[in-house]
Amino acid sequence: MSNVEKETPNITPPSKWVDLYGDYLYRFALSRLKNPEIASDCVQDTFLAGIKALDRFDGRLDIKYWLRGIMRNKIVDQIRKSIKTQTVDISKEDEALMESMWYKYSGIATTNPDPWEFNPRKQFDNKEFWVVFKECVETLKNPIKQAFILKMLEDQTTEEVCKVMDISPNYLWVLLHRAREQLKIVLKEKWLTIDS
C-alpha cells in the first residue's frame, strides 16, 4: 500500500499548470530574457518538457519548483539560441584587460577597485533592496548581462557558460568583472536615491 503511494506523488494535473504556474514562470523567464515573446516560448517549452518528464517527478519538491528547475535549462537554451544569431565581439579595452599584468599574474583587474559607498550586506534582509537589485541586473547590456545571468544567477559552471556563449574563460572573466563594476555603479545610484 505504502509502495503505491510512493509511486504516485501528489501531482497537479498539467491541465491546471497554466493557471497555477503560468504567470510565475513567465515573470521568472522575463526577468532573465527580457523579450516577452521569447519568455512565453520559454514557458511553453518548460510545460511541454515537464509533461514528458512527469513520470520522473518524485514529489520531493513542489511541482512549481520542479518546473522552475526545468525552466533553468530552457533559459540557458534560449540564451544559447540568441547568442548564435549575434557574435560576441571583444572590444579593445577588454582585450587590454586580458593582457594586463595584474590579470596574468594574480587574476585580478586592479589592486584598488572603487569601494562600495554603502554596505550592501546590511540590506540583505531588506526585500526592497532585492527589487532594486533585480532592476539593476536588467539594466546591464548583453553580453555582460547574459554572462552574469548564466554564471551568477543560474549558477552554471565556467565551462558551461563558455560553451553556451562560445567565449574563452578569460573573456568570461572580463565580462563578469564589467558586470560587477556596472552593478556597483547602478546599485549605488538607485539605492542611495531610494534610501535617502
Binding site: D23, I108, T111, K127, W130, K184
Partner: protein
C-alpha cells in the same frame, strides 16, 4: 599558503561558500591580508554573497512585486491547447 592567482582562480570557478572548509579559511585569510588582491577579491566575494542572497529572495519578489506582469489570456489559451494536445499523444 595560497597565491593571489590561486585565490582568483577558485573565485572564478565557484562561489566561495561551495569550497571546502579548509580552502575557505585559507582563502579568507589571504584576502584579508593581501595588499595586492585583497580589495579586489573581497568585492568578488561580496558579489557572490549578494547573488546567493538574491537567488534565495527571488521567488518572493517574483511572486509579489511584479504582479502586473503576466501572460496574456490568448497566450494562456494557446498554451492550454498545446498541453492538452501533448497529453493526448
Amino acid at each position: 599558503m595560497l597565491t593571489c592567482k590561486q585565490v582568483s582562480n577558485s573565485l572564478n570557478k565557484k562561489d566561495y561558500k561551495d569550497l571546502s572548509f579548509v580552502q575557505r579559511i585559507l582563502l579568507k585569510f589571504h584576502v584579508r591580508c593581501c595588499l595586492f588582491c585583497g580589495k579586489y577579491n573581497k568585492q568578488v566575494m561580496e558579489t557572490q554573497d549578494m547573488c546567493r542572497h538574491f537567488r534565495e529572495n527571488e521567488d518572493s519578489i517574483i511572486e509579489s512585486a511584479d504582479s502586473e506582469i503576466s501572460l496574456n489570456e490568448d497566450k494562456k489559451e494557446l498554451l492550454k491547447e498545446k498541453i492538452a494536445q501533448s497529453m493526448d499523444c
